[in-house]
Amino acid sequence: MGETIRAVRREDVPAVAEMFSRIFMKSRAAPGALLPSYIEEIVLPRRGFANESEEPRSRVFIDANGAVRGFIGVWPRRMVLGARTIEAAAAGSLMVDRPEEHPTAGARLLRSFLAGPQELSFSETANELSQGMWQRVGGERLPTTSLDWMRVLRPSGFCVATAARAFRPVAVLRPVAAGLDRLIDAAGVKALQLGDSAGYTDVDASSAEIEAVIPQLSESYELRPDWQSPTLSVLLAHAQSKERYGDLRQRIVYSRRGEPVGCYLYYARRGDVARVLQLLARPGTAGPALNMLFRHAASVGCVGVRGRTDPVLFDALVAHRCLFYHGSAMVVHARDKSLLRDVRGARALLTGLAGESWNRLIGGSFA
């Protein structure tokens, strides 16, 4: 039997989970039941997803002995580009076990994904190696969605939280950092002061309320999900079940006239850096929405906020003194080069709920 690439099957799930646990979660122990169960849920066709009646789109690499040695997760979704609907698919969790023994597996998995039925392929989590691979097969990086941003709210707490990520015992310094930050706050350091959002209010929102406003607020993007396939409620349910980043806060920003003009969803944990899953705003209100986010994150004890750039938010992020750095990249590929050109020129919503970050493989602990 030769090496082969094929669609993932139910019987592959334990091997995929074991690989994922070892490669991405850096775990030496075998995964418990939760990770395989989640992988099965997310890679086999499910109600609410575009592929519910099709064979799984995620692919596995099978070695000559019949063992699963590689995987690429594929999540199809329908999107709107201007006036047309396109079939797209996001890919992530590309991994190869013992790559030295299977040097062509990663390349074959990526090519197999790109040869799928989707018109547009993308990944928001491409590392340096993956970026190179995508670019070699005609894909492109979208610079405006390939940057992460960070806003420091409490500098001492931020330093401690950052250090504690590498060395957990440092977290005992949190009370000291909180004291220092109160002094810094009292000194009124201009660079740390938050802006004014006069005329706007923000309130907690239920999932139903968020599901109602996200499609409206994403209309300012020329390329965006149709939010039907997969359904927003399914994506939100996944996003709400992550454990590692804290609770998912969902809030809507209203104008003075009571119209929803923005919303933000972020994971918050006291003493830690908040992670934004999505921030959407009507044109001209990205600044107030960001400001509302920062104020709320500070009010629940977060020491900083981080998220992913996008073309609609970029100017407001700069104006709000955010720091930018390059982590993972957004890469796109289309066999139709005119589509690729259109995507490159469009204001594109491809991250967070629109990309892969809703799924629990990013941010789940499965413990």
Binding site: E3, P103, L129, R136
Partner: protein, 90 residues
């Protein structure tokens, strides 16, 4: 024919992998993978080159070291494909 293919392949390998790595010599039978000259990105670059230069479609199951690991193997694979014979057992 094979010599022309080998010449083009060698030129591509030298330009794309050998000089980029600051290396000088490479025998036609030497392994690109074992020498660390090529990785997953390089494999894709090589496949794109083969498809564009020789007008053939490299099938997924043909992307294996047996076809792509040395100048000789690549040239033999391309020669087989262009003459209508798949060069390797899949």
């Amino acid at each position: 024919m094979t010599n022309t293919i080998k010449h083009k392949v060698r030129e591509f390998v030298e330009t794309s992998f050998l000089f980029r790595e600051g290396r000088e010599g490479l025998a036609d039978g030497q392994s690109l993978l074992a020498e660390g000259l090529i990785d997953s990105t390089g494999i894709l670059e090589l496949v794109s080159f083969i498809e564009a230069e020789f007008g053939i479609i490299v099938e997924d199951q043909e992307i294996v070291p047996e076809n792509l690991d040395s100048v000789n193997q690549i040239a033999a694979y391309v020669a087989g494909k262009t003459s209508g014979i798949t060069a390797v057992a899949v």
